[in-house]
């Protein structure tokens, strides 16, 4: 056997772990007895009827193939393709998230540059930040009177804090030397903000944005279970009501995959703005 690189060995181990896990799962599902093998008592108590159980991975794979080969079908309010459901969720997450970024990044700049603003706003941030985003839901539904907009508001309120705090922290921590370079070059406040402070604080700001998108994706599932209608969270809950556990497991996996993709987009962005001192 030739020498494998660290990555190749790790990939091999991952595959082995996956195979072993799936095999154990498959083997752990008890087979349903055929009607002929049942006792008369069992037949009388309905033991012969098909039972709902945790599906084996083979069934999940079949389901995944079926769903992913036609992700955008729309057969009425309760039967939409997985692509459409995920699309709704991503749309809500991105709307709430972008609104939050529009507020958090300029406000974070202000807080980071002005010690007075920092001290004045800090108590509000400290009180509002630990509130579970779903706790806002009743108030949002009452005030906004629209479930769609309420879901977006919940995403907004949960993703604003990490971005706000990281932006303020990053801006306040910009080295005085670099600010002095801007001053000795007579840069105005706006040019200083864009050409010196923003690139200097960008790694910290992007870290905050990465934390925020992770939280937003966690929260959207719960929010959609509450508001219903469309979205991956609604889909999970709907399939649970249908007692279609195969679809539930499949959609859980899809939530993981999409979350990973969102996170890796920000990881890429983080590498793009990183600098070594």
């Amino acid at each position: 056997m030739g020498k494998l690189t660290l990555n190749q060995r790790a990939a091999l181990l991952s595959l082995v772990l996956l195979a072993v896990g799936l095999l154990i799962w498959e083997a752990a599902i008890p087979a349903q007895k055929a009607a002929a093998e049942l006792t008369e008592y069992e037949r009388l108590t309905g033991g012969g009827a098909p039972k709902a159980g945790v599906p084996p991975p083979s069934q999940v794979l079949v389901k995944a193939w079926e769903q992913l080969s036609n992700p955008f079908y729309d057969a009425g309010p309760n039967d939409k393709g997985i692509g459409i459901q995920i699309g709704y969720s991503i749309y809500r997450v991105l709307s709430g998230y972008l609104l939050a970024a529009l507020v958090a990044i300029p406000l974070g700049f202000l807080i980071g540059m002005s010690p007075v603003a920092y001290r004045a706003l800090n108590p509000f941030i400290q009180v509002l930040r630990p509130i579970s985003p779903l706790a806002w839901m009743p108030l949002a539904l009452f005030i906004i009177q629209d479930s769609e907009a309420s879901a977006i508001f919940v995403i907004f309120i949960c993703s604003i804090w990490p971005m706000l705090i990281n932006t303020a922290f990053g801006v306040a921590g910009v080295r005085q030397d670099w600010v002095n370079v801007a001053r000795t070059h007579e840069l105005g406040p706006l040019r200083t903000a864009f050409t010196v402070i923003l690139p200097a604080a960008a790694p910290t700001i992007i870290t905050g944005m990465r934390i925020s998108i992770g939280i937003a994706w966690l929260v959207i599932v719960a929010a959609e279970m509450l508001v219903g209608g469309t979205g991956i969270g609604y889909y999970v809950w709907n399939e649970w009501n249908n007692l279609d556990l195969t679809s539930v497991i499949f959609s859980i996996l899809m939530i993981g995959v999409v979350g990973m993709l969102l996170d890796s987009a920000f990881a890429w962005l983080q590498r793009a703005v990183a600098y070594a001192e």
């Binding site: 030397d177 670099w178 002095n180 000795t184 070059h185 007579e186 690139p199 960008a202 070594a276």
Partner: protein, 305 residues
């Protein structure tokens, strides 16, 4: 006496001493720098050299006193006063070239992109940075190369006054020597007015037209202005042969080792603290073999302006 390009008048800096009183770093310090002159300032740590530098750069405000350039009082930082900081202060997310472009673009906002880049490349080449190396980020450059970029950025902007804050303080002796030569070369071609802080006596003698000597703080003052009577162009290997070299050097060592302490700690009582001009030139007296051992030697003369 010609009107100096930069004149510092009765500069005083006090800081709160933490016990309710004030601590005077320096008081009524006054001196001037002529256009095209290279002036070094020597003094012990804590005598306020960096504070003077920051005031000249406009990054700090003096407690009282004014700085005038060409007769006009200055306040705040300006492109007319370029600064090379000890820690290079390059922007780490920009390449060496982009760092210089950053400066040139701030100075000449109306020039075309190509002109700005050409000017930046020209000055980088003047400090010996050419080819692929200009596209590297500061973190991929050695300390010496970073300081060269910083010097190129400052010179490319043609400031009226260039302030160097211990630019070679963090470099090893060999690199320092090379960059001092680069600095002399680039300075010789531009007739730039330079004000530089240093701790290194030999560096000051090699580079400067005039050395300002500061006494220790508190109540530090610029006590002497020593003319370097060694003709240019100077080479580090040749100037040590010059009869004035050790006379001047001994005078500086004597000042820093002893007199800076003796002269320290005196309040000025409101008097203007102008430095005494000291001119040491053994070639004029015609006694090159005379012992040169400090200010007490008879062939020295102190001239007050």
């Amino acid at each position: 006496m010609t009107k100096p390009s930069l004149s510092v008048e009765r500069l005083t800096q006090t800081f709160p001493d933490g016990k309710g009183g004030t601590m005077t770093v320096f008081e009524n310090a006054s001196f001037g720098i002529e256009k095209g002159e290279f002036v070094c300032i020597l003094g012990h740590s804590g005598c306020g050299k960096s504070t003077i530098m920051n005031i000249l750069a406009g990054l700090a405000e003096p407690s009282s006193g004014v700085v005038k350039m060409d007769g006009y009082e200055v306040s705040g930082p300006s492109l007319d006063r370029g600064v090379v900081f000890q820690n290079y202060s390059l922007l780490p997310w920009l390449s060496a070239l982009k760092n210089v472009i950053f400066g040139v673009r701030a100075r000449y906002p109306n020039r075309s992109r190509a002109e700005i880049e050409a000017q930046s490349l020209k000055y980088l080449a003047m400090v010996g940075l050419e080819g692929d190396v200009v596209h590297r980020k500061p973190s991929q450059l050695s300390g010496g190369m970073r300081q060269r970029v910083s010097i190129a950025r400052a010179f490319a902007n043609h400031p009226k006054l260039l302030l160097l804050d211990e630019p070679f303080g963090a470099l090893d002796a060999l690199t320092r020597g090379t960059i001092q030569d680069e600095l002399l070369k680039i300075w010789g071609g531009t007739e730039q007015t330079v004000f530089m802080i240093t701790h290194d006596i030999d560096e000051a003698i090699l580079l400067a037209d005039r050395i300002l000597l500061m006494t220790n703080g508190p109540f530090a003052r610029v006590a002497e202005s020593v003319e370097i009577t060694i003709p240019r162009p100077r080479k580090r290997t040749e100037i040590v042969e010059h009869p004035n070299y050790y006379a001047i050097r001994n005078h500086l060592v004597h000042f820093l080792g002893q007199r800076s302490r003796e002269l320290a700690g005196r309040a000025s009582d409101g008097a203007d603290q102008r430095p005494e001009t000291v001119r040491i030139d053994l070639t004029e007296t015609g006694t090159p073999d005379a012992p040169a051992d400090g200010p007490a030697a008879p062939h020295l003369r102190a001239v007050t302006p």
